[in-house]
C-alpha cells in the first residue's frame, strides 16, 4: 500500500486515551541549510545533520535530536526520539478512505492470547474447556528470575493451550486460544 503523492503527511498518534491528528509538510529550504516545516499550522525551522537507514540527527527549533527508527509498517512507524519511544500512524491525505477501512485495530481484537514477554513456562494454571474471566492467570512464565502470569485478555472459554510446561516462548507467541 504505497501512498499516492500528496501535499503532506497526516500523522495520527495515540498514547493512553489521547488520540491526535497532526498534519505536517515541508514548506521550503532556507538559504543557510535549514528547512522550514509546517506542523499543524505552526512553522518550525529544522536542520538535517545526518541520516542513515535507521537513524536521523537533526535540529528542531535549535535543539539537537537523535532519532532511531525501530519499525515501520505500511500503517505506522515507531521511533525513539532522544530515548522517548513514539508511535505514529501515518497516512496520506488522499489515502484517508483506505485508512478508515483498513484499520488494523479491529483484527487485533481476536481470540489469541499472546505473551508480552519471552520466558520459560513454569506452570499451566488453566485447563482447556474451562471458562475464564479477563485477568485470570492462564500460564506462569519465568524470566529474569521473575514469575510472571500471562493473564486472559477477555472473558471466554479456553479452546486451546499451545504451550507446554518447560517450553520457552518468545514475545508475541500465542499462548492460548480463548473464545
Amino acid at each position: 500500500m504505497v501512498g499516492k503523492i500528496s501535499e503532506g503527511i497526516l500523522l495520527e498518534f495515540k498514547i493512553g486515551e489521547t488520540k491526535q491528528e497532526i498534519n505536517g509538510e515541508i514548506i521550503h529550504a532556507l538559504g543557510d541549510g535549514s528547512i522550514l516545516l509546517r506542523i499543524n499550522q505552526k512553522s518550525y525551522e529544522v536542520r538535517l545533520v545526518k541520516s542513515s537507514a535507521d537513524e536521523i540527527e537533526f535540529f528542531f527549533e535549535n535543539s539537537f535530536h537523535y532519532v532511531k527508527k525501530i519499525s515501520s509498517t505500511s500503517s505506522g512507524i515507531m521511533i525513539v526520539l532522544d530515548g522517548v519511544p513514539i508511535t505514529l500512524r501515518k497516512h496520506f491525505k488522499l489515502d484517508e478512505l483506505i485508512r478508515d477501512t483498513s484499520s488494523s485495530k479491529v483484527t487485533t481484537e481476536n481470540n489469541n492470547l499472546t505473551s508480552q514477554i519471552p520466558g520459560r513456562v513454569v506452570n499451566i494454571v488453566a485447563s482447556i474447556g474451562t471458562s475464564v474471566k479477563t485477568g485470570d492467570s492462564i500460564v506462569i512464565l519465568e524470566s529474569m528470575k521473575m514469575q510472571v502470569a500471562v493473564k486472559s485478555h477477555k472473558d471466554g472459554i479456553i479452546r486451546d493451550i499451545l504451550v507446554k510446561k518447560g517450553a520457552t516462548v518468545s514475545r508475541n507467541d500465542v499462548i492460548s486460544v480463548i473464545e
Partner: protein, 504 residues
C-alpha cells in the same frame, strides 16, 4: 595472602570485584555460562573459564563445577558476589574444605542467618528487637492461615531461604493468603531450591533501614552507618540511600550498636547487613541478616570513603579492621537507583536483547556500576539488574539533582529500563521531602504519575518526531538509490514511511 580470586558470579557485581582485585594486584578469575561468553566480566577478568549451559542451576549454581574450576585455576579465594551461591552454607563449607578462602562469613554463621526462624530466636535472646510472626517454617497453606489469623492480617509470606526481596508476598486476608502461598512457594523453589515459607506480621507505613556491618576474625566489629531502602516495588528494592532522612546521630549510634550486637550473636565474619523495619512511631524491628555483600553497598562506600570489596578481601585473609568506630565520619549524601531491564509501561515485563548505542552517565558525583556496553546482550536467564547509578552530593537535594542528570544521560538502545520510573520518583514531592515508606509506590500512585508524565513527554516531543519523519522522507525522495542499497543490506529503510512531493 590472597593472590588470585575466582568470582563465582556475573554482571555488574563481577565487574565490581574485578576492579577491587586490580587495585590490590590480585588476579581475577571469571567463570561464565554459554550465555555469557562475550560478557563484560569475562572481557575484564585476567582469566575466564566456561562452567556450563545458560541455566543458572547448571552454571552459576553448580557448586561442584565451580570448586573444580577454582582448584584447576589455582584460585586462592572465591568471592561469591550477591545472589547465586553467596548465601549457600554448603558452598562456603566446601570451599573451606578444599583450602580455598571463601570471601564471606563462615558456613556456620550462614546456616544461622539463612534460617530466618532460628536467627530470629537468637536475636530475641541478644536483645535485638524482632518483628512478630510464625515461630517456625510453614509448609502448608492451612498452617500459614492459622498463624496469620493469630498475629492478624495483613501478613507477609517469605521464603525461609530467601533474601533480597525475592519470594515475598503480601496477603491482606485469607483469600489472598491462599492465592499467594502457591506463587510464593514456587518462586522460592525456583530461586533457592526450597519452598519453605514463614509468615510475618506486615507493619504498614514502614521504612526499610539497614545497617552495614563488618567483622574480622579477631572479633572486631564495626557498623558503617545505615542505608534506607524504602522505595521498593513488590518488596524489591528500587532506590537506596545513605544516610536515612529519619536517622539522626543518636538513633544511628543506638541502632548501630544493636546491629553490631546482632553480628556478634551469630559470630559473623566479613561484611554483612542487619536489616530493620522502622514503624511510624520510630520503633525498629530486626528482620534478617543478609550474609553477603549487598547490591546497594556502593551508597555506603560513597559516604564513608571505604571500599567494601577491598575490605572484604582484607578480612578474608585475616587482616584486622584498621579503623575504630569513631574514625568513621558521614561524608555527604548518596543515592542509588537500580536500573532494571524491565518495561515500566508494561507491568515491568522483562526486556532482553542486544544493546546498541550505549552511553552511560558521567560527571561530578556520578558513579555507574554496570555490565552494559555497546554490543552486549541482556539475557533472560538471569536477574534484570543491568546497572546501578550511584550519586554523591553534599546533601540530599544535590544528590537528587545529580541523579536526575545521570538518568537523563543514560542511554542503552535496544532494551527497556526502569529509568522512567526513577525519573518520576526523583521529581515526586514526597520523595523530595524524604517522606518514604515501603508502600511508597502504591501510596502515591507513582506508576500512574509516571504514565501521565510519559504521555506529556510524548506530546511535547511529537512535533519533533513528525519533523523527523518529514525530513527523512525528503532525504529518501532525493536519494532513492541510497535507500535501495540500505534495504538490500537487510536494513528496513525509512523509505517505507511513504513518498511525497514536497518541493524544496
Amino acid at each position: 595472602m590472597i593472590s588470585s580470586v575466582l568470582i563465582a558470579n556475573r554482571g555488574e557485581i563481577a565487574l565490581r570485584i574485578i576492579r577491587a582485585n586490580r587495585e590490590l594486584g590480585i588476579k581475577s578469575i571469571a567463570i561464565y555460562s554459554d550465555e555469557d561468553i562475550r560478557s563484560a566480566h569475562v572481557r575484564n577478568a585476567d582469566e575466564a573459564y566456561h562452567i556450563g549451559p545458560a541455566a543458572a542451576s547448571e552454571s552459576y549454581l553448580n557448586v561442584k563445577k565451580i570448586i573444580e574450576t577454582a582448584t584447576a585455576a589455582g584460585a586462592d579465594a572465591i568471592h561469591p558476589g550477591y545472589g547465586f551461591l553467596s548465601e549457600n552454607d554448603t558452598f562456603a563449607d566446601a570451599c573451606e574444605k578444599k583450602g580455598i578462602v571463601f570471601i564471606g562469613p563462615r558456613g556456620k554463621a550462614m546456616t544461622m542467618t539463612g534460617d530466618k526462624m532460628k536467627c530470629k530466636e537468637l536475636m530475641k535472646k541478644a536483645n535485638v528487637p524482632v518483628i512478630p510472626g510464625s515461630e517456625g517454617v510453614i509448609d502448608d497453606v492451612d498452617l500459614a492461615e492459622r498463624v496469620a489469623h493469630d498475629i492478624g492480617y495483613p501478613v507477609l509470606l517469605k521464603s525461609a531461604f530467601g533474601g533480597g526481596g525475592r519470594g515475598i508476598r503480601l496477603a491482606r486476608n485469607e483469600n489472598q493468603l491462599r492465592q499467594e502461598f502457591e506463587m510464593a512457594a514456587a518462586e522460592s523453589k525456583a530461586a533457592f531450591g526450597k519452598a519453605s515459607l514463614y509468615v510475618e506480621k506486615s507493619l504498614e507505613g514502614i521504612r526499610h533501614i539497614e545497617f552495614q556491618i563488618v567483622r574480622d576474625s579477631n572479633g572486631n566489629t564495626r557498623h558503617l552507618f545505615e542505608r534506607e531502602c524504602s522505595v521498593q516495588r513488590r518488596h524489591q528494592k528500587l532506590i537506596e540511600m545513605a544516610p536515612s532522612p529519619v536517622v539522626n546521630a543518636e538513633i544511628r549510634k543506638r541502632m548501630g550498636e544493636i546491629a553490631v550486637r546482632a553480628g556478634e550473636a551469630v559470630d559473623y565474619l566479613n561484611a554483612g547487613t542487619v536489616e530493620f523495619l522502622r514503624d511510624k512511631d520510630g520503633n525498629f524491628y530486626f528482620i534478617e541478616i543478609n550474609s553477603r555483600l549487598q547490591v546497594e553497598h556502593p551508597v555506603t562506600e560513597v559516604i564513608t570513603g571505604l571500599d567494601l570489596v577491598k575490605l572484604q578481601i582484607a578480612i578474608a585473609q585475616g587482616q584486622e579492621i584498621s579503623f575504630d568506630q569513631e574514625d568513621l565520619k558521614l561524608h555527604g549524601y548518596a543515592i542509588e537507583c537500580r536500573i532494571n531491564a524491565e518495561d515500566p509501561f508494561n507491568d515491568f515485563a522483562p526486556s532482553i536483547g542486544t544493546v546498541g548505542r550505549c552511553n552511560l552517565p558521567h560527571g561530578p558525583g556520578i558513579r555507574v556500576d554496570s555490565y552494559l556496553f555497546s554490543g552486549c546482550s541482556v539475557s533472560g536467564y538471569y536477574d534484570s539488574l543491568v546497572a546501578k547509578v550511584i550519586v554523591w552530593g553534599r546533601d540530599y537535594q544535590e544528590a537528587r539533582a545529580r541523579m536526575k542528570n545521570a538518568l537523563r544521560e543514560f542511554e542503552a538502545e535496544g532494551i527497556n529500563t526502569t529509568i522512567p520510573l526513577h525519573e518520576t520518583i526523583m521529581n515526586n514531592a514526597d520523595f523530595i521531602r524524604g517522606d518514604l515508606s515501603t508502600d511508597y509506590l502504591d501510596r502515591l500512585k507513582i506508576l500512574d504519575i509516571m504514565e501521565k508524565e510519559h504521555i506529556e513527554k510524548v506530546k511535547r516531543n511529537t512535533p519533533a518526531a513528525v519533523a523527523a519523519v518529514l525530513l527523512q522522507s525528503d532525504v529518501d525522495r532525493r536519494n532513492p538509490e541510497v535507500v535501495q542499497d540500505m534495504r538490500n543490506a537487510r536494513t528496513r529503510g525509512w523509505k517505507n514511511i511513504g513518498r511525497n512531493s514536497f518541493g524544496i
